[in-house]
Amino acid sequence: MANRIVKVFPRFERFWHWTQMALIFVLIFTGFGLNGVHGLIPFRMAVTLHTVAALVLLAVWIFATFWLFTTGTWKQFLPKVEGMLEVARFYAWGVFKGEEHPYRKIFWRKHNPLQAATYFALKWMVFPAIWGTGLVYLAYNFWEPLPNAVFLLKIVANLHLLAAYVIVTFVILHVYLLTVGHGFREHVKPMVTGFDEIELTPEQEAYLEQNEPWRLKH
């Protein structure tokens, strides 16, 4: 086993992550403006930005989903119970004692088990909930003739809002957790440069040296 600087986040993944971040911030800002939480943006402009940002994000998600499945990266996000308890125990206890983070990144497993489970829930529940309700919300005029449309709209709008609050909560925890362990700068850097320090097995090392040398920093 050797620690190597490996390109773990290819260009598309980084682009995907940061586009998503920017769009989600636009959506949070405009969305909570529309909801009446703040009045920092004119309603009309908020409607435009929110709609455009949402549609762009949906397009990015479609590309990302395609990319995840064609590259096999989707497996990274499969939750595993194994190791989860250790990570949870670390955040709740060990971190205060100055312990090392129990999880060691390996090439095919960039996320610790808790992280993977969180992303899994985000990707499979929260994100579909927000864009599902968002699209239904946006298309209100198509289903307006349904009986009790106003009541249904209220349900849809509140589900959308609930999902939005969950995402805000995620963003807070996500950003905070970047400060745990190796520190904020160290954690953000791989998503900027693409390179992170990873433990490679000799076989992985040999394979990459041979077939994907651009992944390895010498």
Binding site: G36, V37, G39, F43, Y140, K154, T169, I172, T179
Partner: protein, 557 residues
């Protein structure tokens, strides 16, 4: 996009004619002084193929209005018959709800009723000599008043108390016109030779003065519309489209599109080129998808099935410097000065600088409003009235008229209204609205002459043919006037947050869910708690880490 929802169609067309009775009945509220110059008139470009000044039959001295009419009818052979069947002449409207409405039938919260006050109220009748509401309007051909609508010389008018006749030489001292100005002698030949299509002044001379003075009644029909600025009325302004009333209120054989009693329920929008238009709706020109094809435009178009154009595009009414009466309390009328004389107070100065009465012994207390934010309600176009034969509950506010509609019916839209608050007389024995005779300088019964309600009501009830118990009281009333005129330029249309905000204009309106109005819903509260919890959690977690690190932990982060 296919619009599946059925629509409550927007119909302009408050029957302008309803403005008439008030001006006939009441004294003009505005305080006018000075000599009587015939007012300047609105120029309408003529497209006519005839110059009436060249017609021999019109080149003579006319001794009366009916003489002019007779000359008109010598060519326009069917015009009298057409006009006589119109609401302008009959003052009667058979509503599809089954009620017989119209000026001759309804009560309102302004001057109340026409019956018993005829030569005054009927001064704005589109005819000559209707001096008894108990009989139908005069049936002879030359009783139709052609000049009221077609005079383009600008100097034709009608006396305020002569059942539709114009002031002629010699004019009686103190005589007043229907628009409240000191009367001048009308030159009938000049008027007859000038005729053309009606201008804003022809309609406005009656309709802008409904309820006893300038803009008293409607709120969106005032003398400002003779020559409105672009900001007041984008269509009627000479700086804009320079529309006359009949540009929208299209007519066919002297019947006009647009009724305040029965607003059109359907309008397919823009017709084929050259196709005849029979409705005075916004959509008849602007289509049902009037906003530009942008993201916001599409979103705005999504509103039009439930929000009337007027709701956003007439952000306030009574604009341009002329106020409208918003409260009229008849119950305080009759208070006299210590010397026993009628009193008046003028405690309201409107935008154009004119002082308005706030108390009159003849009429009671008033309140006025300018740039008034409308009252909003679902409206399917149907209006019905509390007529004089209907029982009322005097312990509650009586709705003199009711506008029908609800979110669920699929036909209604949110419309703006002028909400008129009143206190008016009712028959306390039979619990019904009372008719009162207020005008009648030569009578012993008229309220404005003798300030005696019991006599005035008894005479009014008799004139209206309504049984009277002999007891009367005053009841609080509400009346609703759909707002459809004074369309502002698009740049002045209501901003989204006028409705999409907490405690907005539409707060309390049933049947709507509007983003932005309910941020503190229980999901909103739950979400805030969740975010707060996360923040407190990470702050606590972070602090604990800091504390432990300073205790000498070996963390390397």
């Amino acid at each position: 996009m296919q619009r599946l929802a059925s629509k409550a169609w927007l119909v302009l067309g408050l029957g302008l004619w309803l403005g008439v009775a008030g001006s006939g009945l009441a004294q003009n509220e505005s305080v006018t002084t000075g000599a009587p110059p015939p007012p300047e008139r609105v120029a309408v470009p003529s497209t006519s193929t005839a110059d009436h000044s060249k017609f021999e039959i019109l080149q003579k001295e006319f001794a009366s209005g009916p003489e002019v009419t007779a000359a008109c009818l010598s060519c326009h052979t069917e015009a009298d018959d057409q006009v006589m069947h119109s609401i302008h002449y009959q003052w009667k409207f058979d509503s599809s709800s089954g009620q017989t409405l119209g000026k001759s039938e309804v009560l309102n919260s302004f001057c109340g009723n026409v019956a018993g006050n005829e030569p005054r109220c009927t001064s704005c009748h589109a005819g000559y000599g209707w001096d008894d509401m108990a009989s139908p309007p005069p049936a002879q051909s030359n009783a139709v008043d052609c000049l009221a609508c077609h005079d383009r010389s600008g100097q034709y008018t009608k006396l305020a108390d002569a059942a539709g006749h114009p002031p002629l030489e010699p004019v009686k001292a103190g005589a007043v016109t229907i628009s409240g100005q000191p009367a001048w002698a009308v030159d009938l030949a000049k008027a007859a030779q000038s005729v053309g299509q009606p201008g804003r002044d022809n309609c406005g001379n009656c309709h802008f003065y409904g309820g006893g003075g300038d803009n008293v009644k409607h709120g969106d029909l005032s003398s400002v519309l003779f020559e409105p600025s672009l900001a007041v009325d984008v269509h009627m302004s000479p700086e804009g489209e320079n529309f006359t009333c009949s540009t929208c209120h299209v007519s066919d054989q002297h019947e006009w599109a647009g009724s305040r009693y029965e607003v059109h329920a359907t309008d397919p929008g823009t017709g084929k080129p050259g196709e005849r238009r029979d409705v005075a709706t916004c959509e008849s020109c602007h289509s049902a998808d009037p906003h530009p094809t942008s993201l916001i435009g599409m979103k705005l178009n999504d509103h039009v099935d439930v929000v009337a154009c007027q709701t956003c595009h007439i952000p306030e009414f009574a604009r341009g410097g002329v106020a409208t009466k918003t409260v009229w309390d008849w119950s305080t009328a009759g208070r006299l000065s210590p010397e026993g004389k009628p009193m008046h107070e003028e405690n309201y100065v409107q935008g154009d600088g004119k002082a308005l009465h706030t108390y009159l012994s003849t009429k009671g207390d008033f309140e006025w409003g300018e740039n008034v934010v409308p009252h909003y309600a679902w409206f399917d176009g149907q209006v019905d009235y509390t007529t004089g034969d209907m029982e009322i509950d005097p312990s509650e506010i009586v709705e003199v008229n009711r506008v029908h509609g609800a979110r669920e019916d699929g036909r209604s839209r949110i419309w703006p209204f002028k909400l008129m608050e009143g206190s008016q007389s009712y028959d306390a024995g039979f619990n019904k609205l009372a008719y009162a005779q207020v005008w009648g300088p030569d009578t012993d019964t008229a309220f404005w002459t003798n300030f005696d309600w019991s006599k005035a009501i008894e005479a009014g009830m008799k004139a209206a043919g309504s049984e009277y118990s002999g007891e009367f009281g005053f009841v609080d009333t509400h009346m609703y006037w759909p707002i459809t005129h004074m369309v502002a330029p698009a740049s002045d249309a209501l901003d989204c947050v006028a409705c999409h905000a907490e405690d907005s204009r539409l707060a309390g309106l049933a049947g709507v869910y509007m983003p932005g109005t309910d941020t503190m819903s229980w999901i909103g509260i739950l979400g805030r708690l969740m975010v707060l919890g996360a923040l407190l959690g990470v702050i606590g977690h972070g602090l604990l880490r800091l504390v432990n690190r300073s205790k000498g932990g070996s963390h390397h982060g």
